[in-house]
Symmetry: C2
Subunit: 148 residues, 2 copies
């Protein structure tokens, strides 16, 4: 009997793709065991603008394509402009949702939506990787150089 691998869902903005993102995605996929598939939901420009007050540096189509170009990623899709955890879960049908160290606020959202949909979904938390720069820190470092 062959068993299908688990589907792991990860999400993020992935503006200025960096090594920390890669490590996060690799750990996320590993959480699904062998034969896991990693599906990544990339946040829409409008969603980011609404949440952070300004759009990402790189447009959503390019952010999505770059994430999907990674060996570790099986599929990358754009999120919904009107963010909805339920619609995301219905679309991807994950066995596992992997949350990054700064995505803890999504845990309740996932659990509530899964319960409402009657889906059995495990939430795993992925830790941070040493002293690596986050996207915001990278941006600050760049800005500092230009200000010199």
């Amino acid at each position: 009997m062959t068993c299908m691998g688990k589907v792991v869902l990860a999400s993020g903005v992935f503006d200025l793709l960096h090594y920390g993102h890669l490590k996060f995605l690799e750990k996320a996929k590993r959480s699904g065991g062998e034969d896991a598939k990693l599906v990544v939901v990339v946040a829409r420009d409008k969603t980011v603008e609404r949440m952070k007050g300004e759009p990402p540096i790189m447009p959503e189509g390019e952010r999505r394509a770059l994430v999907e170009a990674l060996k570790v990623v099986d599929k990358a899709i754009l999120g919904f402009e009107e963010f909805s955890m339920e619609r995301v879960l219905q679309t991807v049908k994950p066995n596992i949702v992997a949350l990054g160290y700064d995505q803890g606020y999504l845990e309740e959202d996932v659990k509530k939506a899964a319960e409402k949909l009657g889906m059995k979904i495990e939430v795993v938390r992925i830790g941070k990787f040493g002293r690596r720069l986050s996207s915001s820190e990278i941006k600050r470092k760049i800005a500092k150089r230009f200000a010199k």
Copy 2:
């Protein structure tokens, strides 16, 4: 009879990996036809510092790992701190060297080194992709936002 695919060599700094880099690498690989292997030489921090007056934002180990994590890339290696086209060609043994739109200055270097080494190497020039931001333009855009 099976023919081995061509080895295509591309190189760059790949600080802040972006969609333009991906398109460049995809076109570079395609220039080698089917079964081509793409080897990427990633510039060392010290080489970049010597050329541009400051080191890249992201350290060389992370830049290399991220480039190698791309599906299109078969292998990514760090360059030599004392930049030497001859050593690069001897190490990678490429059939083709693909140069980006802003790497024209390397063409003579490649040709001279190949002649000296008695290697038959084709140089292909990869054009720019529409109005995409370069790494420097991305950095300027970030700096501008922070200056507001």
